[in-house]
């Protein structure tokens, strides 16, 4: 098995202790950092996402895979920077105002990161002004992802979208939404650009919205 395939297997299995050593070994063998990243880790996370969607694996397996990838990326980051390899793009992510739930949002963040994006995670209970502030500070960010877990906080998605419109920023980003009570019909109703029902689909959607799917 090639070292890149070994890295992919270790990420998929969530062997975070092995991943670091394997990445170092691959670098020592002269393998390009972006090959290690794309063919070793991002592809592995794609497999993890697909298995998660199909209920072949569950949240713990997905989390330990994301943790393993993170270990590898930590080692790889300086080499990628030296080569000028950039993430696919930035995604601003947060749970909307009035909602403290972070589980779904965190899983989405991990999977989007695993797909090769830089995630700007604003946390939970995020007011619209905060989204706008971070959007203004990151004009290269093309996707904003909003999460709500409660029917009672779904209106905060609408008001966040409205605030982004009023700030004149709506045309600069694609907006994707998700969370237990959120549906495609709701996404259509409030005219956002995408809805995903789970973390793995969210990563695919982010790629689609960035035009790299």
């Amino acid at each position: 098995m090639s070292i890149v395939k070994e890295i992919a297997a270790a990420v998929e299995a969530g062997k975070s202790k092995q991943v670091g050593g394997l990445v170092e070994q691959a670098l020592a063998e002269g393998i390009e950092p972006n090959v290690i990243l794309n063919e070793g880790m991002i592809q592995a996370m794609g497999v993890v996402g697909e298995k998660f969607k199909n209920n072949e694996i569950f949240v713990p397996e997905m989390l330990i895979a994301a943790r393993a990838m993170k270990k590898g990326v930590e080692i790889l980051t300086p080499y990628l920077a030296k080569q000028g390899v950039e993430p696919i793009g930035k995604v601003i992510l947060g749970t909307v105002a009035g909602d403290l739930h972070d589980i779904g949002k965190n899983l989405v963040g991990m999977m989007i990161e695993g797909a090769g994006f830089k995630v700007l995670d604003l946390g939970v209970d995020v007011p619209p002004e905060k989204f706008i502030e971070v959007m203004k500070a990151n004009p290269d960010c093309k996707v904003v992802a909003l999460s709500a877990l409660l029917t009672s906080t779904m209106p905060a998605i609408t008001s966040t979208v409205k605030a982004i419109e009023e700030a004149g920023l709506r045309n600069t980003v694609k907006i994707m939404i998700g969370g237990a009570p959120v549906t495609q019909a709701f996404a259509d109703e409030i005219k956002v650009d995408g809805y995903s029902e789970d973390a793995a689909s969210a990563a695919e959607l982010a790629k689609k919205l960035y035009g790299v799917a």
Binding site: F58, P60, I64, L100
Partner: protein
């Protein structure tokens, strides 16, 4: 027990009222002239006999004592006096801070600052409560005059096993600890100690409140799937759920497993643990579960939600559709007591299921 034909007029009679505890204001609910007590009927279902009617959760008398810090922290108290707004939220039994969310009517641990980042640290950082510190006698004395002993007396244990781990580690930490070889032994040891704690607690629930069924809270899934695989459940949770069930059964108490989420694939684990009753949320295929497992466990089922002003015809049709859906199954109970309190149409629907099941069950 001899079957008794339905006498609709007689069984429609309200022969009294009894208290039903709730978080905001305790209410008086009607007591109907039933052929046996709701307790006797419920017990028949739990023991696999054909009951006289399909029981409802209103046939249980739920007690969630305010003296238990977990219940105040989670803002879920069914006690002699309703819970005051200032009592909602705060520290649970293990000193974990919960934040009450008014729009939800419940509490959650504010994420981001878990007590444990590694399960191995629990012996240093988690102090188990001393059950002797609570005034059990004082609490039971206040509650006792309200209890309707013709119903099945149910005591609740919040935060079960995985939920407790989540409260200590946040969700991601807890989920990973179930699978992380370096944390699994610590999780086993924690669950072992929790089982000893719950065993003592269940004994006190029986001694002081006369518990006949325990509702044990442990949510295992999201709306789309279980949080963990069957094998993880089998290894990390089933042995301890079984011990909690055993703590109940050795005392002649039943266990009602409160386990939200689309967890139908984990039902065999619940059955293996010996759970007596599970109410699958509507995203589960309850008809399929009843067909496949209805001989081994009692299941709860949700009737269709109705607008409060639904006509009598709509209500009767909804009740009939519900009963037709589960025709032939008798280890089922109707879930909807909370909704029935605030929705008169739903309360009527539940009464209709009583009359239909009274007739149908006599044919079984």
């Amino acid at each position: 027990m001899d079957r008794i034909p339905l006498d609709r007029e007689k069984e429609s009679q309200v022969i009294g009222t009894s208290t039903q505890f709730s978080v905001s204001a305790n209410v008086q609910v009607p007591v109907y002239n039933t052929p046996v007590t709701p307790y006797e009927n419920f017990k028949m279902m739990l023991e696999g006999k054909v009951p006289f009617w399909m029981p409802t959760d209103q046939d249980e008398f739920s007690i969630i004592p305010r003296i238990i810090p977990d219940n105040r922290a989670r803002a879920l108290v069914y006690d002699a006096e309703p819970l005051l707004p200032e009592e909602k939220g705060g520290k649970d039994w293990f000193g974990i801070e919960w934040e009450f969310v008014p729009t939800v009517g419940g509490s959650m641990v504010k994420p981001g600052k878990p007590r444990l980042s590694d399960a191995n640290d629990w012996p240093k950082l988690i102090k188990f409560p001393n059950l002797d510190d609570l005034d059990w006698e004082g609490s039971s004395k206040k509650i006792a005059p309200h209890v309707n002993r013709n119903k099945l007396i149910e005591l609740w244990i919040m935060n079960g096993l995985f939920e407790r781990l989540i409260s200590f580690m946040d969700f991601e930490g807890a989920a990973m600890a179930l699978l992380d070889e370096e944390q699994q032994d610590a999780v086993h040891a924690l669950f072992d100690k929790l089982c000893l704690f719950y065993d003592d607690l269940i004994g006190r629930f029986q001694k002081y409140y006369g518990a006949q069924i325990i509702q044990f809270h442990d949510d295992w899934g999201s709306q789309r799937a279980p949080f963990f695989s069957y094998s993880t459940c089998e290894e990390m949770l089933l042995p301890y759920l079984k011990r909690v069930v055993d703590s109940c059964h050795k005392r002649g108490i039943y266990l009602n497993f409160h386990c939200c989420g689309k967890n139908e694939m984990l039902l065999p684990a619940m059955i293996e643990a010996g759970v007596d009753l599970w109410v699958p949320q509507p995203m589960n295929d309850t008809v399929m579960l009843a067909k496949k497992y209805g001989d081994r466990i009692c299941l709860g089922a949700y009737p269709e939600q109705l607008p409060p002003d639904a006509s009598d015809d709509v209500i009767k049709n909804a009740a009939k559709a519900f009963m037709d859906k589960y025709k032939g199954f008798y280890r089922l109970f109707v879930f909807g007591g909370m909704a029935a309190r605030t929705n008169p149409a739903f309360a009527k629907l539940i009464r209709e299921t009583y009359f239909i099941s009274r007739e149908e069950y006599n044919k079984l």
